[in-house]
Amino acid sequence: MSIEVKFDLGAHLRQKVAGGRKLVVPYLTCGLPTPQDFIDLYVSLGEHADAIEVGIPFSDPVMDGPVIQEASNRALEAGITVDGCLGLIKQALKRSSTPAVVMTYYNPIHSAGLEAFAAKAATAGVSGLIVPDLPFEECAELDRALVAQELALIQLVAPTTPGERASMLAAASRGWVYAVSRMGVTGMQNALASAASEVVNRIKPFTDLPVLVGVGISSPALATEACRVADGVIVGTAVVKRVLDDDLPGVVALIQAISEAVNPSELKIENR
């Protein structure tokens, strides 16, 4: 009897963490700076990243600060569509084995139809989804559509999430658990909020999935600090800022530096 074993993002990442690795997940706005450059960048970043979060732009991104808003506007003005984004992800995944996770707001998914969107995302090779304006109470319908396609819906836990609720979200999450480092929208910061480690510690007892810290992680130093308690980091604004400035080598250098900073033992092995 042959069973088709589909890719399980959570199991894949858990295995890496078990092997001692701290995970690094950069965020790219889909289609920037150009569709071809986006694909190339995905492939280059894939060599240093454990997964890549790809933002499908939305006209009204309320969880995002000025940099990612600007990137979303630019991508939309260049004419990118939801189908266009999924097409680019599919092409990138032909050249990279690094899993893709889509980050987008609920309305484009709702507009496409939940099941249709899930099917299209699965066909493109997407492994999971992050929907920042879809809290647990509203996610059952989308979750069913994603489960049918074996896609992970990643839950976010915020500094204001009470303990009991954090345990519920941690248990419901698949792929990883997203620990929001501070109260605020996406953007860079110079110091890690003390809330970050508190959030991670609130989640950890209730899941065996990796717990990744996101929002405000902009440098190797902050990533290292976050990884003292977390299993990895998500790096968004610092990446997108460099993409907007057309500094693509800088994007790869940043993610490589973060990956090396949080995984010093790997560096030693490579250098031997």
């Binding site: 939305f58 006209s59 009204d60 991104p61 309320v62 969880m63 600060g65 808003q69 939309l76 569509t81 939801v82 609920y106 309305n107 484009p108 998914i109 709702h110 507009s111 496409a112 920042p132 304006d133 879809l134 809290p135 647990f136 109470e137 509203e138 839950q155 976010l156 836990v157 915020a158 500094p159 204001t160 999430t161 009470p162 609720r165 979200l169 929001v180 109260m183 605020g184 929208v185």
Partner: protein, 399 residues
């Protein structure tokens, strides 16, 4: 037969298929606390006694029900009655909501408030209520709206509010709400967001609708008292739709009363932007709730347009979406020109300068008066005064 309808969301914050709580996790705890505080306050006779005192002594309620005799002659049909929310303190129905929310803010122990504003009337009403309670206030307003409603920007600043022009997107109400939500994600632990309409995540549509329902309660009693019975039709303009929900709530259970919402059709030209979310949109999720929405085939929000900044919004409250689907309310449109004509008609016939938002309701109210004919009664919600709009109207006509 008129379908029965509800004036309360279910425990998930749903109005039929609409409403809900579509916000970042960071805001969920604050919304849970707000709903708990609302339920507790709504059940507390002391809260209602204080709200009643504020309504009478601060707002000047009840606002008059006014028989527009010469406008009735001009229209040539049913008698036109105006519910004079333009005579409420600060010049519009918005104050009914803001004083109630500020009372709740104080009760929750929060020390700062935020608001968004389109035409500036909600911003002014929030600034005034915040000044009354001694609570610091920040108002987000689209940069385009700060230009076309500069008079209200000055009023808000004089009342002690900080006014933040928003230069993102279409620089109008939608973008002001986006920016207020971003602020709230950061400041939610000590700050209450005073949403200005029956929009947003639960419990806002319920709370704002309840606070505005004083309009309909008063109007129903006044119609029976002054006109000798219920009106044949009730008409109100709909942007987010709070003045409309306020007056509709008084009549939804009266099967003989026809109810009309009027959305802004903009220029009315084929393919041009407008604000008729119910008439021409389809259901989607924006600003925390599922409701009718102007969006493209990819789910991107489309730019809205109306000469009336308070109607210039691509969405609508979820209670309206339910009332559209169950057929209890019929939604019509009026163009920019219709509104300006109605503004002039009311100014000349009655000496009243209505807000351009309310003028949309006056325009369709006059049509309904004609079609219902003599002997009938049409009730129009005159939601606000038009002092803020004199520059826009002066630019559109030869004085």
């Amino acid at each position: 037969m008129t379908p029965t309808t509800t004036t309360a969301a279910d425990e998930r914050g749903r109005w039929g298929e609409y409403g809900g709580v579509f916000v970042p996790e960071s805001l969920m705890e604050a919304l849970r606390q707000l709903e708990a505080a609302r339920v507790e306050a709504w059940a507390d006779p002391d809260f209602h006694a204080e709200l009643d005192r504020l309504n009478r002594q601060v707002i000047g309620r009840p606002t008059p029900l006014y028989l527009a005799t010469r406008l009735t002659e001009m229209a040539g049909g049913a008698r036109i009655w105006l519910k004079r929310e333009d005579m409420a303190f600060t010049g519009a129905h918005k104050i009914n909501n803001t004083l109630g929310q500020l009372l709740l803010t104080r009760r929750m122990g929060k020390t700062r408030v935020l608001a968004e504003t389109g035409a500036g009337m909600h911003g002014v009403a929030t600034a005034a209520a915040a000044a009354y309670f001694g609570i610091p206030c920040r108002v987000y307003m689209g940069a385009e709206d700060t230009r076309r409603q500069s008079h209200n920007v000055a009023r808000m600043k004089m009342l002690g509010a900080e006014v933040f022009p928003v230069t993102n997107g279409t620089e109008t109400l939608k973008d002001a709400i986006n920016e207020a939500l971003r602020d709230w994600v950061t400041s939610v632990e000590d700050t209450h967001y005073v949403i200005g309409s029956v929009v947003g995540p639960h419990p806002f549509p319920q709370m704002v609708g309840d606070l505005q329902s004083v309009i309909g309660r008063e109007a129903r009693v006044q119609m029976i008292d002054q006109a000798g019975g219920l009106p044949d039709a009730v008409v109100a303009c709909v942007g987010g739709g709070s003045n409309a929900i306020g007056i509709f709530r008084g009549f939804v259970d009266d099967a003989g009363v026809k109810i009309y919402g009027v959305e802004a059709a903009g220029t009315g030209r084929e393919g041009a932007p407008h604000s008729a979310a119910i008439g021409l949109g389809r259901p989607g999720v924006l600003h925390g709730a599922r409701s009718y929405l102007l969006q493209d085939t990819d789910g991107q929000i489309m730019p809205a347009h109306s000469v009336a900044p308070g109607l210039d919004y691509p969405g609508v409250g979820p209670e309206h979406s339910m009332l559209k689907d169950n057929g209890r309310v019929k939604y019509l449109t009026a163009t920019n020109d219709d509104a300006i004509d109605a503004f002039r008609a009311l100014a000349k016939s009655e000496g009243i300068l209505p807000a351009l938002e309310s003028s949309h309701a006056v325009a369709r109210g006059m049509d309904l008066a004609r079609s219902i004919g003599k002997g009938g009664n049409v009730l129009v919600c005159l939601s606000g005064r038009g002092d803020k709009d004199v520059d826009i109207v002066a630019g559109a006509i030869d004085l």
